[in-house]
Symmetry: C2
Subunit: 342 residues, 2 copies
């Protein structure tokens, strides 16, 4: 069967309608579309074809049609138009350059959630390829040392180390100097075994402290990778969509947002896309099991210095794709303007 112009128009009309109302749409409704001057009977015939092609379906015999996942897919791939709708909302995102990336991302999540009325998640940048800016050791008390590790993007991590024996202020100063001259500017991946050996040699009798510090660094980074920071907001927005808000489903979905670590898969999958295009996961396409009744729109952001992560919007399958995509695009543009062109 051929998917001609008219069928596409009808499909588009059906999906548009369904996105708005959330109700199955019947042939009569479509026949009223000014773009399609056809009787309901004709529409019905076409609908039967579209159903056969797996693009739409009936919840039950005497109901209107709703899009299938395949139908949505076709819609977002081919039928969706670039939204020119009031970008005023997007403009209001009004991002200033913020020193602390974490703060920025938290706010961003909040703003996106309240702008879109969907749930939002943002992954903090992965630090693996991120460069050390400096390390600062300070004495906390007799046996404890605070290591402050700062990476590009002004991401700060603290870690408290147990020293084997009492720490001397002088030693500390030396260590600071040593660590910084040797390590600053390197990414975690670039700290090789050879370098470590050399570092220890230089440290002489204090090599055990060097070891602790290096462990702390790698552990801090590793911990972050296994359990990366994820900022979420507006999870309770799902209650605005009846198809998601009944008991079981809502519970599962909200747990996902509460536990957060389950979101990792979505983040890694989405990061693996090599391009900077916006991606859309419909229903089961999502790597997260509990989102099988949702759609997820993700974008890779970059804040310069190779700091990158993903932003995801989670909503019902009948989410307003155009608005979400356009909001994300505008946002990416803005971030790019601010952080990359400088």
């Amino acid at each position: 069967m051929e998917l001609d112009e008219r069928k596409l128009k009808i499909l588009k009309s059906i999906i548009r309608n369904y996105l708005e109302t959330g109700e199955p749409v019947g042939s009569r409704t479509i026949s009223k579309d000014p773009e399609l001057q056809l009787s309901s009977a004709t529409i019905r015939n076409e609908m039967a074809d579209l159903e056969e092609m797996g693009l739409i379906m009936q919840p039950h015999t005497s109901a209107g049609r709703i899009p299938t996942d395949q139908g949505y897919r076709l819609y977002v791939d081919q039928l969706m138009e670039d939204s020119k709708r009031e970008t005023k909302e997007a403009n209001q995102l009004l991002i200033e350059r913020v020193d602390r990336v974490e703060l920025l991302l938290k706010n961003l999540a909040k703003i996106l959630a309240s702008n879109t009325n969907y749930a939002t998640l943002i992954s903090a940048p992965q630090s693996r390829h991120n460069k050390l800016k400096f390390i600062q050791l300070s004495k906390v008390d007799e046996r404890k040392v605070l290591a402050v590790i700062m990476m590009e993007g002004n991401v700060v991590r603290n870690s408290i180390l147990d020293a084997v024996d009492e720490v001397d202020e002088q030693v500390m100063l030396k260590m600071n100097l040593l660590l910084n001259t040797m390590l600053t500017g390197l990414s975690i991946d670039e700290i090789s075994l050879g370098l470590i050996a050399k570092l220890k040699e230089e440290a002489g009798e204090y090599s055990h402290i060097v070891e602790k510090v290096l462990n702390a660094i790698s552990e801090t980074i590793r911990a972050e990778e296994n359990d990366p920071q994820i900022y979420t907001s507006g999870a309770t927005n799902i209650f605005k969509y009846p198809e998601l808000s009944d008991g079981e489903k809502a519970s599962e979905l909200l747990s996902t947002f509460e536990e957060k670590h389950v979101l990792n898969e979505l983040i890694t999958t989405s990061m693996q896309q090599n391009n900077h295009e916006i991606q859309i996961y419909i229903g089961n396409e999502s790597p997260v099991e509990t989102m099988k009744d949702c759609s997820v729109v993700t974008a890779n952001y970059e804040l310069g210095d190779g700091l990158q992560g993903i932003i995801g919007i989670v909503g019902p399958k009948r989410m307003d794709y155009e608005k979400v995509v356009s909001t994300l695009r505008t946002l990416m543009q803005q971030l790019d303007d601010i952080y990359n062109k400088k």
Copy 2:
């Protein structure tokens, strides 16, 4: 009307029953209680009295009775027994002394939530009366300075300052020394105007940096007070209780846990209690509007060095008060053993 021994026994039996089943309990059910050798008719008479006293009520004419808020109140105040139930759960809390208070509290929240099957919230210790351990300034780049502020309890705060003009390494060292000698060991409240003036004088030409640092400190602290850290866990547990999990209610309650700042009132109210007793808020007694259908059990914890905050368990009114209270008591005991006696 008098509330004699028998009436109390009956009330207790009714509430016990209702806590377990969540269903209104009828006279026949109570007449089977081995502790009460009475016919259902007699129970009915007594029930009528209890209802008149406002301790129980009927959802509708031909239903059994459920406790009123007043009834619950009387129960937790007088009728509740100390639970000797398997404290093994509580023992499993197995707390080790953790260096980072934040980490400890986060874990605690998780453990409590999964142990009780209710929602848990823990407020991070308020820093106002908390003493500074040390301040460390480090140069980030030409115009930026990282201030690391460490307080008792090993609570670390970072803040990035904009310097007016380029920062000299030498100056930094001086500032560090100056700030630490003058401020270490003081609480925020103890940093008086006089002290600040003196500090500025000592700093001479760099007094503007001192000012910035002080501002940063007080702002950091203030920000924390307005929006104190609150760790929550198990908010989705509320779906286990039908009376809380229908649409509107669940949504409101979960939003409360998502927004968190609404929980502040609960925390301040609970902190104001001068004693270290466990407190129970039933329904409208709770300072948080959205918890009017819940009960909240709170405890003030103290981790030594005056680090204190509150732990709260939020569940349906028919929560297992005995278990919750006993769990919290055990926990407090353990924390006390570890942190205060040393």
